[in-house]
């Protein structure tokens, strides 16, 4: 930009000053770049150290592992771009599965009725998180830490109260279970690759989230709500509604993941899910989301989840003790955060 009134360029002509911006620079401003480089490095690493890593069957196992985290990492990434956290995301998956299973069993209803009730109940939990955040203006860390603890307790307490044990009764012989299993926990074979249906859910969510982020008004508002909420409000962006919507998006992801958890067996352990919320956040951060909000991408979060899947299964294929996994994950997170900080600096300096 120059202070003088420059002559209007002919239509379509390139600005001569744009030549200075190389292809690398263009790539570097994409939030996914760091994750992509990381994914390539992890892939190469395990290809070398684990003989069976490059087989198709391993690939489908890695994809499945990635999808179970990725389904949640996508809405969690959107929420982080919107400037908030959700620590209740992990146990919300279990809650969703428990509600579905227990409703069907106790009411002897078709499994699909339980699935529907679970959707409404889980969305209500997300709405509760969002409304509490926007009304009280407390940090989301505190609010969702509260709902995290409440849901953890409720999961264990209600299951104990209703079923008398730590796990729900099997719903395998109930009406609608086979079709529900098909939708949430079946396998497809494409060529040599055996794909779990969760991979399709995951890809679908990534596509939907990317569309919302980059091509809709809501996407613009998500970036603005996380980037500078006051400025967004000043130009008329409904910041509170956007944030409530984001929490309900996380709840929707929790519903899908929860139904998968239930349908892949036929009962749910009430203590599951604790700690997973951090895995979702890690995937989002590795994928280029800033902890402070306003920057990131759904595709990046998906790559983050893929790195998670590769590391998780790669260690097993390399026949190492699985205890090493967390060490790897932690190192990966630090590297990703450093790389992101560096990339962002470069991006902001690309004047």
């Amino acid at each position: 930009m120059s202070a003088t009134t420059a002559p209007v360029r002919p239509e379509g002509a390139e600005d001569e000053r744009l030549l200075r911006r190389s292809l690398l620079r263009r790539l570097a401003v994409r939030p996914e770049l760091g994750a992509l480089v990381g994914a390539a490095a992890v892939f190469l690493f395990f290809s070398v150290v684990a003989d069976s890593f490059l087989q198709w069957s391993s690939f489908s196992t890695v994809l499945y592992g990635a999808s179970t985290i990725g389904i949640m990492a996508v809405p969690v990434a959107l929420l982080m771009i919107g400037g908030e956290f959700d620590l209740s995301a992990g146990v919300m998956v279990t809650s969703s599965a428990l509600i579905s299973s227990m409703f069907s069993y106790q009411m002897t209803a078709n499994v699909w009725v339980g699935v529907g009730v679970s959707l409404l109940a889980t969305l209500a939990i997300g709405f509760f998180n969002g409304i509490l955040l926007t009304r009280t203006k407390l940090p989301s860390f505190i609010i969702t830490l509260g709902t995290f603890l409440m849901l953890t307790g409720a999961n264990l307490g209600f299951t104990q109260l209703i079923d008398g044990t730590v796990s729900t009764k099997t719903i395998a012989d109930m009406e609608g279970f086979p079709s529900a299993r098909k939708v949430f926990a079946s396998h497809l074979t494409i060529g040599d690759v055996d794909l779990n249906v969760t991979v399709l859910w995951w890809f679908g969510l990534v596509a939907l989230a990317t569309w919302i982020l980059l091509r809709t008004r809501a996407g613009n508002w998500i970036f603005a709500a996380g980037g500078n909420a006051d400025a967004a409000r000043a130009v008329g962006v409904p910041v509170n509604k956007t944030k409530i919507g984001l929490y309900m998006g996380v709840a929707f992801g929790a519903w899908i993941a929860g139904q998968h958890l239930l349908m892949s067996y036929d009962a749910v352990q009430s203590g599951e899910g604790v700690g997973n919320e951090l895995l979702y956040i890690i995937a989002a951060v590795i994928g280029g989301c800033l902890m402070t909000g306003g920057y990131g991408s759904a595709i990046g979060a998906a790559i983050g989840a893929f790195i998670f899947g590769m590391t998780d299964k790669g260690i097993i294929y390399a026949q190492w003790n699985a205890d090493w996994f967390k060490l790897f994950l932690g190192a990966m997170l630090l590297l990703a955060a450093l790389l992101n900080a560096w990339v962002r600096k470069r991006a902001e300096a690309s004047k």
Binding site: M1, S2, A3, T4, T5, A6, V8, D15, R17, L18, R21, V29, W211, R215, T216, R217, G219, N220, W221, F223, A224, G227, N228, D230, A231, A232, R233, A234, V235, G236, V237, L290, G294, Y295, A347, E348, A349, S350, K351
Partner: protein, 276 residues
């Protein structure tokens, strides 16, 4: 400032876009603003001058709809009003550009330009941002204001402070603001950047907008202002048309008049006060 116009003031007889008459604002028992009057006319720049704590921010918040006045009248195009929110002010054609709140730094220029009023195409689930039009409009509208941007895709945080202010002004003009309220647009800027911003303020005026320019710099105000309202400790310390007052007098009043002379006396061993 008089609300009655004498017949020979033909030009001033037009109805002001925004008129504040004896407006006061109290925070509990603190008088933040008392008996302040000002008029904003289309195609004119009204400067509000005052030192820190003079009540400039309170005044701007009333006009922008963030606060409501407690006494006096606030009219928009002759209609008495009380703005409930910034959105209400925007709907009435009053756009406010805050120094810090103008933009979302990490978002591209074109997304910032349309933030909150994004055009869409298609319908139902395929309703999407009209990205091509948004990019093109951003480029042409900025060019029309004399801002030639290399790349509308760059994060707006990579622009200089002056450029960001200019984009925010261009945005307000494009979205049909009738009154533009600028909060200290030159406060954190260097000389050259300030000049750039003042040029776009003048461009907005020439486009027929009424401008309220809040500043503590009488030199900047005198360059573009048509009318000057001086605030001091929450009250009006003066209201002058440009023809009635010289820069030296404006600077003297702004800096506190006798206080400045006192300071000058105290500092007489040094080179002397700079004035602003």
């Amino acid at each position: 400032m008089s609300t009655e116009h004498t017949p020979d003031e033909a030009a001033a007889a037009r109805r002001p876009l925004v008129q504040l008459t004896e407006v006061s604002k109290f925070y509990g028992n603190v008088k933040a603003l008392e008996g302040v009057s000002l008029e904003v006319h289309a195609g004119e720049i009204t400067c509000v001058l005052g030192d820190n704590g003079a009540g400039k921010s309170t005044l701007i918040k009333i006009i922008a709809g963030l606060h409501q006045h407690d006494a006096g009248t606030f009219t928009i195009e002759g209609e008495r009003t009380r703005l409930a929110s910034p959105r209400a002010a925007l709907d009435r054609g009053i756009a406010t550009v805050y120094q810090d709140l103008a933009v979302v730094p990490l978002m591209p220029v074109w997304r910032n330009f349309f933030l909150g009023s994004e055009p869409t195409r298609g319908r139902g689930p395929f309703r999407r941002l009209d990205v091509a039009a948004m990019r093109e409009t951003t480029r042409t509208e900025l060019l029309r204001m004399g801002i030639d941007l290399r790349d509308v895709d760059q994060p707006i945080g990579t622009l200089s402070g002056g450029e960001r202010q200019c984009v925010a002004i261009a945005r307000a003009v494009y979205f049909g603001a009738k009154v533009l309220v600028l909060d200290e647009p030159t406060a954190a800027l260097g000389v050259k950047q300030s000049g750039m911003v003042l040029k776009y303020v003048a461009a907005a005026r020439d486009a027929g907008l009424g401008v309220v320019l809040i500043t503590h710099n009488p030199h900047h105000a005198y360059l573009v202002g048509d009318h000057f309202v001086l605030l001091k400790r929450g009250a009006m310390a003066g209201s002058h048309a440009k023809a009635e007052i010289a820069l030296e007098e404006l600077t003297r009043q702004m800096a506190g008049g006798s206080e400045l002379e006192q300071l000058s006396h105290e500092l007489s061993r040094a080179v002397g006060p700079k004035g602003a």
